[in-house]
Amino acid sequence: MIPAAFDYAAPATVEEALALLAEHGDDAKIIAGGQSLLPVLRLRLNAPEFVIDLGKIDRLRGVREDGDALVIGAMTTHSAVANDPLVAQHAALISKAVATVADAQVRNRGTFGGALAHADPAGDVGAPALALGAEFVIAGQGGATRTVDAADFFVDLFETAIGEDELLTEIRVPKHTGWGAHYEKFVRIAQQWSIVAVAAAVKAEGGTISEARVALTNMGSTPLRATAVEQALQGKPATEDAIREAVGAVADGTNPPTDLNGDADYRKHLAQVLTRRAVLTAAGG
């Protein structure tokens, strides 16, 4: 199927894109890689009157260092993020999670910022961004720029802190250099959205976990940070038994969906198993 007709512009700057958003309001839709938007338009689940393509704005693409942070442009493709040496060195959790997104073709078009803005609860980029305490840089009307913490960015199912006349421009990720990392994604078939997945980054010294960051994919309407588990892991030996005990309560307070892939209780069980595996692997076990 093909989308309903729409008008189209591919502005060269963020300022022009914002002006078009202001002009067309509710009737406009941003297209980044189009890997989530086009399936929706093709099935006619949405029919914007105006589509604004960010593909020609070069400055939204690429990864750079800025002091203690790594800055990932919103339009950097999943493939570029997965293969970026700076991301591998300073935010390995993101490299690993992004490599599990969809398939090679989709990763060659889909973007890091597009996936975060789309905020599908089963998407694989939210949990690692949340675990590492990423900050989201959002450009608004009249040259305004604001920065939103990961904890405030994910609002609900397919809903983020980005306003209707705003754009996500870059994601700042605090460097976690030297941390072990693993993204444990559970699926039944190749190229599937996460049934549940767990993102874990661990700093281990001499076989002891000194710090841990853990976040969950598809255990609620947004990615969830497992703060209690992070605290329980602190100071524990990086052994299977110690980790099993520390992560036992990871599903407490979560509200996972029930669907054809499994019911909520099954997902709660999965979360425990996957957290143990993710932390153990991240700790080098």
Partner: protein, 161 residues
């Protein structure tokens, strides 16, 4: 209508298209390149895979206007990117290994496989299977497809040696 200019299979193309036109429609309906197939409505099957600036993408999940300024290679132009004969080594390997039955998935499989070897010239069997996860085949059970990619990889190594 939006004006686009791009290179398709080595030829410069410039055209006015409706913004909603998918790249695969543009290739098939405007340029007559029906070698690129449409197998699904959900962006899952990979039958429509082409190269955009050298990398595999699903041409059904992209607007033609998004390809403005790019270089697109389809299965119909693949052999021309290789100056060794009538078939690209990947096409020859699919032929030799009988890596198809109905052939519907084949253009996409071949385009993705060429890109896969570009990224990783010597993949393991597991890496080939994972690398082709965005391409579905309903006939072969994949074994001969994997064998064809292995054969092309071995031929590539031979060519470099």
């Amino acid at each position: 209508m939006t004006k686009i200019e791009l290179t398709v299979d080595g030829s410069k193309v410039s055209d006015d298209v409706e913004p909603r036109m998918l790249l695969v429609q543009f290739l098939r309906e405007k340029l007559g390149k029906t070698g690129t197939l449409i197998g699904c409505d959900t962006s899952n099957c990979g039958a429509c895979t082409v190269h955009l600036d050298g990398h595999a993408v699903k041409s059904c999940n992209m607007l033609a206007v998004q390809a403005d300024g790019s270089e697109v290679t389809t299965i119909e132009g693949l052999a021309d990117t290789y100056d060794g004969g009538e078939l690209h080594p990947m096409q020859a390997a699919f032929h030799e290994c009988h890596a198809l039955q109905c052939g519907f998935c084949t253009p996409g499989m071949i385009m993705r496989s060429v890109d896969l070897l570009g990224e990783n010239p010597d993949p393991s069997e597991q890496e080939i299977r994972e690398g082709l996860e965005g391409n579905l085949c309903r006939c072969t059970g994949y074994h001969n497809i994997v064998r064809a990619v292995q054969t092309a990889a071995a031929a590539g190594k031979g060519a470099q040696a």
